[in-house]
């Protein structure tokens, strides 16, 4: 039982993933509404309200600028809530993980399932916001379809980061710190509401290395119907955060359960 071992490939995570899917199916509507309400309000209120006062931002209407940010932010929020509050409930309050461990499953299987599930659930949220963007006529570009893989990767990335914090949480209160000290500053640094180029010169490069900024950099051109000028760098940033974070989450979770 090497705490630092890489997880071995298997499909044992599937029944755990299906468990979470079955719970979600019972509460799907409430779950989607809860996850996309905030990014939607932001999109409509700021996009139409503030957008009416603003000239074009980066050469496009403000609501179109904001649409990609809202999709990425909504995805990040959904993945984070799932990997923090929901996973913590299953791990700690409900002791679902303990029951799973009494079956022929390992922590690795459970964590991979939680990760893929957080990614899936956040995709539902990202998809819902994209649908609103289409319905409101903010954008109807065919390249919107390519936002989906970006959404998936964003969800997996923030799911993995969330699981790291889940592994070291003692109570739900701890997650408040994560949201106020990590998530909220990241939103303001990642070009969701305004272009990163508006940031001070010393801050802009730091901001560009954030996973949410990488997601926005990929999604925004696709939402407005263009091919991203930079594909590989933001893609590599998201992949790097995802793979490092899921490995750290595994090690931290193994440590938690060994104690």
């Amino acid at each position: 039982m090497n705490r630092f071992a890489l997880p071995l490939p298997s499909l044992r995570w599937l029944p755990v993933y299906r468990r979470n899917l079955l719970v979600w199916r019972k509460l799907a509507l409430a779950s989607i509404v809860g996850n996309i309400a905030e990014p939607l309000i932001v999109l409509v209120a700021f996009g139409y309200g503030l957008g009416g006062l603003l000239p074009q931002v980066d050469g496009i209407p403000y609501i179109l600028f904001l649409a990609a940010g809202s999709v990425c932010m909504g995805t990040m929020m959904a993945a984070s809530f799932e990997a923090l509050y929901s996973a913590f409930s299953r791990m700690h309050a409900q002791r679902t993980w303990d029951s799973l461990l009494n079956a022929p499953l390992d922590l690795d299987d459970i964590l991979i399932a939680e990760w893929l599930w957080a990614g899936t659930k956040s995709m539902f949220s990202g998809l819902a916001i994209i649908a609103v963007v289409i319905v409101l006529g903010i954008s109807r570009e065919p390249t919107l379809a390519l936002v989906l893989p970006v959404v998936a990767l964003t969800g997996l990335c923030f799911g993995a980061i969330g699981l790291c914090f889940n592994a070291i949480a003692r109570s739900y209160d701890f997650f408040t710190y994560y949201f106020t000290l990590v998530v909220t500053p990241m939103i303001f640094l990642s070009g969701v509401y305004y272009p990163v180029s508006e940031l001070p010169d010393w801050l802009a490069p730091v901001a560009q290395a954030l996973p949410l900024a990488a997601a926005v950099n990929l999604a925004r051109p696709l939402v407005i119907g263009q091919w991203p000028t930079e594909v590989w760098v933001p893609l590599a940033i998201l992949l790097a955060y995802s793979s490092v974070a899921i490995y750290v989450a595994l090690v931290l979770t193994r440590r938690r359960f060994a104690a």
Partner: protein
């Protein structure tokens, strides 16, 4: 054919002198009782024949092979030595009880036996499998009733069983054939589509037991199975566990209820400070560690009376716990009882029980 559940009365299929008779004799429990038709958990005979050592055990009358062997188990948590060289064996078909005060190491032992944590030293073999190396294979063939029910509150009763069966890699079709017999066994058939929040504490416990049987385990581990239940619910759990024993399951349980241990367990191990301090049947433990008769004295001035009158004739030793004195006597008719009654104390005479052994071995100070 790996469908192990069959609804039939197995009494007719247990031939005299066969494995079941041996297993029951070995348990030294009450007379053999037929498994009820409603249990629906009997093994197929062909499944049994795949375990030749059990049949050979019946033939020459020797005890069945141990299905669980624990040797020199050590587990250290920081400065706490939770297990300090624990040894014991469990034989097939028996109900084995791990007794000990809170913090004695019972739950840690279970955790290690299931391979959920690695021991710092020692060997574990369950169903012939080395643990933790083959822990996953072991857990595939074992059932676990944890201390906390941990049922899925978002699912119905039946869904809880279906989803749990999937964790064992069982097909939905197979699990669905098992749900009704399991719910019938647990007395929950009428609650099939109920939500978990609608169940009483006893019902949740029975559902947790049914869930632990979804993979038709060979060995069942129960961690304090009746803690927190009222007497009615407790008796119902005990009755179901006896049915499982009659079906040939091996049961390992931890408890600090002496009544539970005396009623269910064919053999007991008393554990304290992470070590085995006594092992045997309830009768043999009582015979070995305490006098057969106990006189309990209570009332005002017990301590003073005891101090004034000790040593008492016919009393091998005594204990004072709060306002009650326990006098351990070889003979049922101790002259001390009459003297205490004459002094105005309340006197209760009874046979020694497992609780006396437990308190004798683990001390009377409060554990937290």
């Amino acid at each position: 054919m790996n469908e192990p559940y069959r609804r039939q009365d197995r009494a007719g299929s247990a031939e005299p002198g066969g494995r079941d008779a041996v297993a029951r004799r070995d348990r030294g429990a009450e007379p053999a009782r037929p498994a009820r038709a409603s249990v629906g958990l009997a093994h197929r005979p062909d499944a049994r024949s795949q375990r030749p050592h059990r049949l050979s055990a019946a033939a020459d009358g020797t005890p069945p092979d141990p299905v669980l062997v624990v040797r020199g188990l050590v587990k250290q948590y920081g400065s706490l030595r939770a297990l300090d060289g624990l040894d014991f064996e469990v034989r097939r078909g028996e109900c084995f009880g791990l007794l000990g005060p809170n913090g004695a190491g019972k739950s840690t032992a279970l955790k290690l036996i299931l391979g959920l944590a690695a021991p710092d030293a020692g060997d574990i073999r369950v169903l012939g499998l080395p643990v933790p190396q083959k822990a996953r294979e072991l857990r595939r063939r074992a059932g676990v009733v944890p201390q906390a029910d941990a049922l899925d509150p978002d699912f119905t009763v039946a869904e809880n069983l279906l989803v749990f069966g999937r964790y064992f890699g069982l097909s939905d079709a197979l699990v669905r054939t098992r749900i009704d017999p399991l719910l019938e066994f647990a007395g929950l058939l009428g609650k099939r589509d109920a939500k978990i929040t609608e169940l009483s504490g006893g019902m949740k416990r029975r559902l947790t037991l049914a869930r632990a049987l979804v993979n038709d385990p060979e060995i069942l581990f129960l961690d304090e199975p009746t803690t927190g239940l009222d007497p009615q619910a407790r008796h119902l759990i005990w009755e179901r566990l006896r049915r499982l024993l009659a079906d040939g399951k091996t049961i390992v349980l931890t408890t600090h209820f002496m009544e539970e241990a005396e009623r269910l367990c064919s053999r007991l191990a008393v554990v304290d400070h992470g070590r085995l301090i006594a092992e045997g049947t309830a009768e043999s433990l009582i015979a070995a560690h305490v006098q057969p008769n106990v006189v309990e004295l209570s009332g005002d001035g017990v301590a003073d009376w005891l101090q004034a009158n000790a040593p008492l004739a016919g009393v091998s030793h005594h204990e004072l716990v709060g306002e009650t004195a326990f006098l351990y006597c070889a003979d049922a008719e101790s002259p001390a009882a009459a003297r205490a009654r004459a002094a105005g104390l309340r006197v209760l005479r009874r046979a020694a029980n497992l609780e006396d052994v437990f308190l004798e071995l683990t001390g009377r100070e409060l554990r937290d």
